[in-house]
Amino acid sequence: MTSSSLRAVALGLALVGASMHLPVQAALGALYVAPASASTVQTNVPGAMQGTASSAAQATAPASQVARRSMAVMSRYAVQATQQPDGSRVQELVAGNGVVFAVRWNTLYKPDLSALLGDSFPIYADAARQAAQRGGIQRQFRLDATDLVVHSTGHLHTFTGYAYVRSLLPAGLTPQALGWE
């Protein structure tokens, strides 16, 4: 390589920090289980879903997978935020019944949505496969299925998106209220 590519060394490290890991506690539509390695849980809204924290299983996870997590609690749902050492992050929105009804991601690399969408993934995969048949570079995707909504976008080293299941939204909560639509 030329000297110009050697200059890239510093950038490569500065640019992306560490590798992406996105351990999720539950996929869309699945029951949320308190993270094995959760460090803090805040439940400062009366009546909000209570999370529990345990460090028992932490030793079983490689250190690189241990994420910094926090639990922000809203009135009708809880937000389980997972941030990795590289800054990639996933939010899971958990309804009062413990079911994950929405996810949002913000990652350095294209995320594997099968891990985030769970049982809803085949619907997404089918739609994405159809969309991909258009060909060419595609940086915007929206699926507006009967029950599942997925929006995904990205360029360079930044991928963002969200997904929710309409029928799982807590009563009275709209996507607009989430600031997503």
């Binding site: 390589m1 030329t2 110009s4 590519s5 200059r7 890239a8 060394v9 950038l11 490569g12 490290l13 640019l15 992306v16 920090g17 560490a18 590798s19 890991h21 539950a26 699945a30 029951l31 289980v33 094995a36 079983t60 997978q65 590289d86 800054g87 992050r89 913000n106 350095l108 690399y109 294209k110 995320p111 594997d112 099968s114 891990a115 985030l116 619907i123 995969a125 739609a127 994405a128 969309a131 991909a132 258009r134 060909g135 060419g136 570079i137 940086r139 915007q140 929206r142 699926l143 507006d144 929006h151 976008t153 990205g154 360029h155 360079l156 080293h157 930044t158 963002t160 969200y162 997503w180």
Partner: protein, 464 residues
């Protein structure tokens, strides 16, 4: 179920039926709304003189065989690939490839392997023996192919010994993509000029590397037990495959040092030209132009315009709008700028020649029937303010743009449109300034941490 993020089926048909004739030379009788009998408006072009540091670029029909309705507003250039040190006059050492898509939303040169099959390009070998293959996903779709090292000729300049990707387009090759890559590409590996809409992609975005630390470490996928189920996320980007492997099943995820990762060819040009580009595109008016020909200039703030050289200084009246770089604290604005439009702030906003329209949310606009393109009754002339990524209060610049009736635009046979716009949901999400932004402007786009006064990448622009 309705997948709305696709081109209108009817639009695709119209574009298809329209594209048989080729664009550049077909300007005949102009009638009615500015269209010839072939449904084409006149071609537009900036004056172009070949200099030491420029490259002709053109929006036109895709390469022969492209049968999908995606070839509007695709910017192409012709690029030469050589074995390192090769002589461009010797076809055994260099091949010239037309219809390479110029993409500021990705990094690295990727060409169909069949276009350089006669060139003995050295392979990339992180281990010293096995060869590197790469899976490169887009938001939808993706690429698979072997890596190689080439001298990349861009106009009169050469980026020497650049790692590139050779897109595997031999359907009978035994090296079909691994399952993980097919999944990363949403089941659709783009493996032909038809699927790609081009013979390759020239990624000249705001960074130097196509991967970074994830590939340096080789840790692409993490798994953990959740509810008794082993849940894994992430996709492998670089694979190491034994030479002569029977199939990709013999390949495994591999770490790739930065000097072997696919690299922004602009950043590998000689020093005066390697810190960014200027894109000059002619103005386009409704209902589009048959073709639009412009100029890509290498380097920023390094060359005064004179005989044989294209000037690349940012004019004093232009504002440098800085992309966000604070990934840890402000991920939404990372490698993005901010757009304020119609009372809404879009934190993830970017200029992108690889996006063929303007994409943002405005629920007050009429959408075309059956698609998310906008179809106002008459062309609108709104404005927006683009400002810094991490600190939106800094460097605000007002941008006037147009929103046309996409259905009417796409009913022509034109390939260049300055006002096709579509909806993308998410008030807090993205505002993508695709190709329409670039017409009638001279746009300056820097590469992160290359030479220059600012360390973060930035955009600047002035009217032509």
């Amino acid at each position: 179920m309705c997948v709305v993020w696709r081109w209108l089926a009817c639009v695709a048909v119209l574009l298809l039926s329209a594209c048989g004739g080729g664009g550049d030379s077909t300007t005949t009788t102009v009638s009615g709304n500015g269209l010839s009998s072939l449904g084409l408006s006149p071609a537009v072009a900036t004056s172009f003189v070949q200099t030491a540091n420029n490259l002709r670029v053109v929006v036109q029909d895709g390469p022969h065989g492209f049968q999908l309705g995606a070839n509007a507003n695709v910017l192409y250039a012709t690029v030469t690939l050589c074995v390192p040190g090769g002589n461009p006059a010797n076809p055994a050492e260099c091949q010239t490839i037309d219809h390479i898509q110029v993409d500021t939303g990705s990094v690295g040169l990727r060409v169909l392997a069949s276009k350089v099959s006669g060139l003995p390009l050295p392979r990339v070998s992180p281990s010293g023996t096995d060869t590197a293959w790469e899976c490169f996903p887009f938001v939808i779709g993706g690429l698979w192919g072997q890596n190689a090292v080439a001298d990349v000729g861009l106009g009169q300049q050469t980026a020497t010994r650049v790692p590139v990707q050779l897109i595997e387009d031999n359907a009978s090759s035994s090296m079909q993509p691994p399952a993980d890559c097919i999944k990363a590409a949403d089941g659709n590996i783009l493996a032909s000029a038809t699927a790609l809409g081009s013979n390759g992609i020239l990624g000249i975005g705001s960074t130097t590397l196509d991967c970074g630390a994830n590939c340096v470490s080789g840790n692409y996928i993490s798994c953990q037990i959740v509810n008794g189920v082993n849940t894994c996320t992430g996709f492998v980007q670089y694979y190491s495959c034994p030479q002569g492997a029977a199939n990709s099943g013999a390949c495994s995820a591999t770490a790739v040092p930065v000097n072997m990762q696919v690299y922004n060819p602009i950043a590998a040009l000689p020093t005066a030209y390697n810190n960014g580009v200027v894109l000059k595109m002619p103005a386009v008016t409704d209902p589009g132009a048959a073709t639009a020909s412009g100029e890509l200039i290498f380097g920023l703030d390094t060359v005064q315009g004179q005989a044989g050289l294209s000037g690349n200084y940012v004019p004093p009246q232009a504002t440098k709008v800085v992309l966000g770089t604070d990934w840890q604290n402000q991920p939404d604005s990372y490698l993005n700028v901010t757009t304020r439009y119609n009372g809404t702030t879009y934190l993830s906003s970017y200029l992108d020649t690889g996006t063929n329209g303007l994409f943002f949310t405005d629920t007050t606009l009429t959408r075309c029937t059956g698609s998310t393109w906008y179809c106002p009754r008459s062309t609108l002339n709104p404005s927006a303010v683009i400002s810094d990524g991490d600190n939106p209060a800094l460097n605000p610049v007002t941008v006037n743009f147009q929103i046309g009736n996409a259905e009417a635009l796409f009913s022509t046979n034109n390939t260049a449109f300055q006002d096709n716009a579509g909806a993308t949901p998410g008030a807090a999400s993205s505002f993508a300034w695709g190709m329409p932004f670039f017409y009638g402007r001279q746009v300056y786009m820097s590469i992160w941490q290359q030479a220059g006064a600012l360390t973060a990448p930035w955009y600047a622009w002035v009217p032509l």
